[in-house]
Every structure is written in structure tokens, then in C-alpha cells.
């Protein structure tokens, strides 16, 4: 399955890049991430309780970063498996400053197999989009704080609220520019 998306973040590219490559920040931002540890240079071991609604599964796996060019690009390779199935994939992530915001775009190809792919195929793309927007909303909140400040709190409702206020802001801006 091909995945791609663009997210607009109100933070500097440097801070966004730092947040996206910091395992401590990532653990806080990836929905359902229970463990993310460094296992070597640019590689990490992770445990994820991922899912939507009541459909959830525990995945364990590894994440590796390649072609790291701070603060604008890296390539991510993910491999994970769990009781509901397996996930394997890779993708490129680009960070670009545009006007006052930072545009993060990702493009990749993931393979999903096992039960989750067999019965949940029709929901996969939606689930990926949902988790990606939760993730980038949390990353944006992290990147907005300075490095010495305490980290923001993430929870479903806080994340949903941030997502919603972002939406209102975008709608409002569209109305103004018309």
C-alpha cells in the first residue's frame, strides 16, 4: 500500500527535525508507543500498542533511519510484527520551510499482512491517515516548545483539541485570504 501525506506544522524546521529524530520525543508522540529504545546508530527498537477504537494490537519491531540530512530529509525503514499481523515498509520524509510554517511531507510504501490485512484491508488507509495526523499534531506541540521547556502533555483529547484548533485556524485563514 502506498502512503503519502503532507502536514503543516507551526514550528521551525530545525525543531521539527530534532523532534522527529529524538527517541524520547517520538515515544511520546507515536500513538500507542510503549517503548522506543536506541539499539544502534540511527536504529531503534519499539513496542507499539497500535489501533483504532476497540481494534488494537501489540506490535514489536525495529525502526532504522537512513540518508539523514538535517534538517530537511531522512528515510525511514520500519519492520514490525505482532499477534494481529505484520508491517514492513519504508518511506522518505522531507521537511521544508514555507513562509512562517514548516511543511513535512512523507511518501512511502508499506506492506501489511496477517489477520489485520485480511479482514481490515478496507480500513487500513484510513487508519494510517488517522494515526499520522495524531502523530504530527503531537510533534507540532513538541516542536513549538524550546528545548529547555517541559514537554507538552499528549492524550487523545488534548491531541484532538489541538487538531481541531488547527483546523479552525486553517479554515479562518482561508476565509480571510478569499
Amino acid at each position: 500500500m502506498k502512503i503519502e501525506g503532507t502536514h503543516e506544522l507551526h514550528a521551525s524546521p530545525q525543531r521539527v527535525f530534532e523532534a522527529l529524530t529524538d527517541p524520547i520525543v517520538l515515544q511520546r508522540c507515536i500513538p500507542g508507543c510503549e517503548r522506543l529504545e536506541r539499539s544502534g546508530e540511527n536504529s531503534y527498537a519499539a513496542t507499539l500498542r497500535a489501533g483504532v477504537g476497540s481494534i488494537k494490537g501489540v506490535f514489536t519491531g525495529a525502526v532504522r533511519l537512513e540518508d539523514v540530512q538535517p534538517p530537511r530529509h531522512f528515510r525511514m525503514i520500519v519492520e514490525g510484527k505482532g499477534q494481529p499481523g505484520f508491517v514492513k515498509g519504508s518511506g522518505d520524509l522531507d521537511i521544508e520551510a514555507r513562509d512562517a510554517v514548516t511543511i513535512v511531507s512523507y511518501k512511502g510504501d508499506i506492506q501489511v499482512g496477517g489477520t489485520i490485512a485480511g479482514v481490515g484491508q478496507r480500513m487500513l488507509q484510513g487508519a494510517v491517515k488517522m494515526m499520522a495526523s495524531q502523530f504530527f499534531t503531537a510533534i507540532e506541540a513538541e516542536a513549538k516548545t524550546e528545548s529547555h521547556e517541559p514537554p507538552p502533555k499528549h492524550g487523545f483529547f488534548r491531541t484532538a483539541l489541538r487538531w481541531f484548533s488547527g483546523l479552525v485556524r486553517r479554515v479562518f485563514r482561508k476565509t480571510v485570504t478569499k
Binding site: 489501533g51 483504532v52 477504537g53 476497540s54 481494534i55 488494537k56 494490537g57 499477534q83 494481529p84 489477520t115 489485520i116 479482514v119 481490515g120 484491508q121 478496507r122 480500513m123 487500513l124 488507509q125 484510513g126 487508519a127 491517515k129 488517522m130 484532538a160
Partner: protein
């Protein structure tokens, strides 16, 4: 397959049920008709530790008329809605929509409340409920609250229900005036779920122009949505062929359309436009 181990609770009243839910909150799931939750549990995609079966609570399955509203109990089965002669007369969208759900076995056991609370992105009820502008009554240990249909569906498999809340009733303003309704669906041949499903509820004024219109679309995006752009184009206009076709072209405006192995994003977008047009035409012809 066999589900993971769970505790099974059978409250006899709704108060008892919300009490149990408050006690177990995150570990518990409410079991209604069981035609989404049980299959997920058998595949071990859902593994709740506690199952609260609200099927033994009396007086949760009903269709009543009260104060200008149709009130439907959450445990009313799809079949009860499909076969109600009274509904066919006063709100035919509901029987029409239920007839499209799964197969006879599913409709005999599955419930409207269960379907709405599960919020499958391709479920049929959410489209109808959005089009008709229903209100949903949720009950928790803290009391009751009413949620508008448009606010209820938050995202894929996610609703505005809080962890301690149970959906108790669906309230619909009884349609009046020159109204017409329709539900049109392309079903996935294997699962029966909507590849695209469009529900329309409209009223015409004395001159035959569209007075109000609600369009709910399911199966296309991560959650059901109200096609506001289509509604805006049509409100106040005569529903002639070209006007409806032009309006239906806006069926997926501002929506992130999903694709899967069966139907690509482009194909779904196309189907949404075609079925929106057909559903509006059918509803308009019934209103005359």
C-alpha cells in the same frame, strides 16, 4: 477462532450497566447485537477484559412517537426498523437503509445503537442518521446528554461517546411537509459493507424548489460525513437534472477519500458523485 478470556456481565437495568461501565471503564466493552464486536473478538483484534451485555435490559428496543419526534431505542434491531409499517409511512429512509445492511441473520441480531456506537467508516446507519439530522442520547453514571449526529462521528471507529457512556436512544424530528428520502448504496460483494452509501432527506416548498436538504455519505472517507457543499448548491433551487448533476459533483469536496484493494480512491470519488446524484433524484421524485 476463539476469543481471549473475558468476564461477562449481564446488567438488568441501564443504571446497573452504566455503573458497571464506570467501574471497569477502559477494560470494558458494551455488547449490543454483537455483529461487529464478536467477530473482532474472535479474531483477537479486540480483547476487552470485561463484556457488559446490555441485551437483557428490558425496554431498550422500541420505536415510539413523542413530541413531534421519532424515538428509537438503541437495542432496536435492524430488522425491527426494516419491518416497521409505521416507519415506512412517516420516515421511510430508516426501513430503506436497514434493508441494505448485511444479510437477514445480521439484521435479526444487529442493532442500530451498536452500529452507531461502533462507527464503522462504511456502516449504513451513520449516513442516514447524518442526513436526517438525528440527535443521540448518551447516558452515563453522571446523567444524560444529547449529541448531534454531526458531532457524534469523530473519526474511524471513534465516536463522541466518553468511556463511561452508553448510547440509549436516537431521536429524529418527524419529517413533515413535502418531504422525500432515499438511500443508495454500492455494496462490497464479499462483506456487504458500503463502498459508497448516500442518504438523502429533503423537503420541497410550494413551488417545488428544494427547501431543506441533508446528505450523508458513508464508505468514502475515514468516517461518515455530511456533504455540505452539495446541500449548499441545492438549497432554494429547483431540482432539475442539470442542477442536481452539478451539485453532486461536489460530493467529495474537502474530504480525504480512501482507497482499498476493491475500489481505488478515484473510483470511489466517481461512485460518490454518481450515487449522490441518483439518491437526490430518487428523494426528489418521492417528494412530489
Amino acid at each position: 477462532m476463539i476469543p481471549a478470556q473475558f468476564d461477562y456481565l449481564t446488567p438488568k437495568t441501564i443504571d446497573e450497566a452504566v455503573g458497571m461501565l464506570a467501574q471497569h471503564s477502559d477494560d470494558a466493552k458494551v455488547l449490543a447485537g454483537g455483529h461487529s464486536l464478536i467477530p473482532a473478538m474472535k479474531l483477537r483484534l479486540a480483547m476487552p477484559q470485561v463484556l457488559i451485555d446490555i441485551g437483557r435490559i428490558k425496554d431498550l428496543a422500541y420505536i415510539r412517537e413523542e413530541g413531534g419526534q421519532i424515538r428509537i431505542g438503541a437495542m432496536t434491531t435492524h430488522y425491527q426498523l426494516e419491518s416497521s409499517d409505521r416507519l415506512r409511512e412517516i420516515c421511510p429512509l430508516l426501513p430503506e437503509c436497514s434493508a441494505h445492511i448485511g444479510d437477514v441473520q445480521v439484521r435479526n441480531k444487529g442493532t442500530i445503537g451498536g452500529s452507531l456506537a461502533h462507527s464503522d467508516p462504511a456502516g449504513d446507519w451513520p449516513a442516514a442518521i447524518i442526513a436526517i439530522g438525528a440527535e443521540l442520547v448518551a447516558v452515563s453514571a453522571g446523567g444524560e446528554r444529547t449529541i448531534k449526529a454531526t458531532d457524534f462521528f469523530v473519526d474511524m471507529l471513534t465516536t463522541a461517546l466518553e468511556p463511561g457512556e452508553i448510547l440509549r436512544e436516537i431521536r429524529i424530528a418527524t419529517p413533515s411537509g413535502k418531504f422525500g428520502q432515499s438511500y443508495m448504496k454500492v455494496a462490497q460483494p464479499a462483506s456487504g459493507f458500503a463502498v459508497v452509501g448516500v442518504a438523502v432527506n429533503l423537503t420541497l416548498d410550494a413551488s417545488g424548489a428544494c427547501q431543506t436538504i441533508g446528505v450523508g455519505i458513508t464508505g468514502v472517507a475515514s468516517k461518515v460525513y455530511r456533504a455540505s457543499a452539495v446541500e449548499q448548491v441545492l438549497t432554494g433551487r429547483a431540482l432539475d437534472g442539470q442542477t442536481v448533476t452539478d451539485a453532486a459533483a461536489h460530493a467529495t469536496d474537502g474530504v480525504s477519500v480512501n482507497g482499498d484493494l476493491y475500489a481505488s480512491e478515484a473510483y470511489r470519488r466517481h461512485l460518490a458523485q454518481v450515487y449522490t446524484r441518483r439518491a437526490i433524484e430518487a428523494a426528489a421524485s418521492r417528494a412530489r
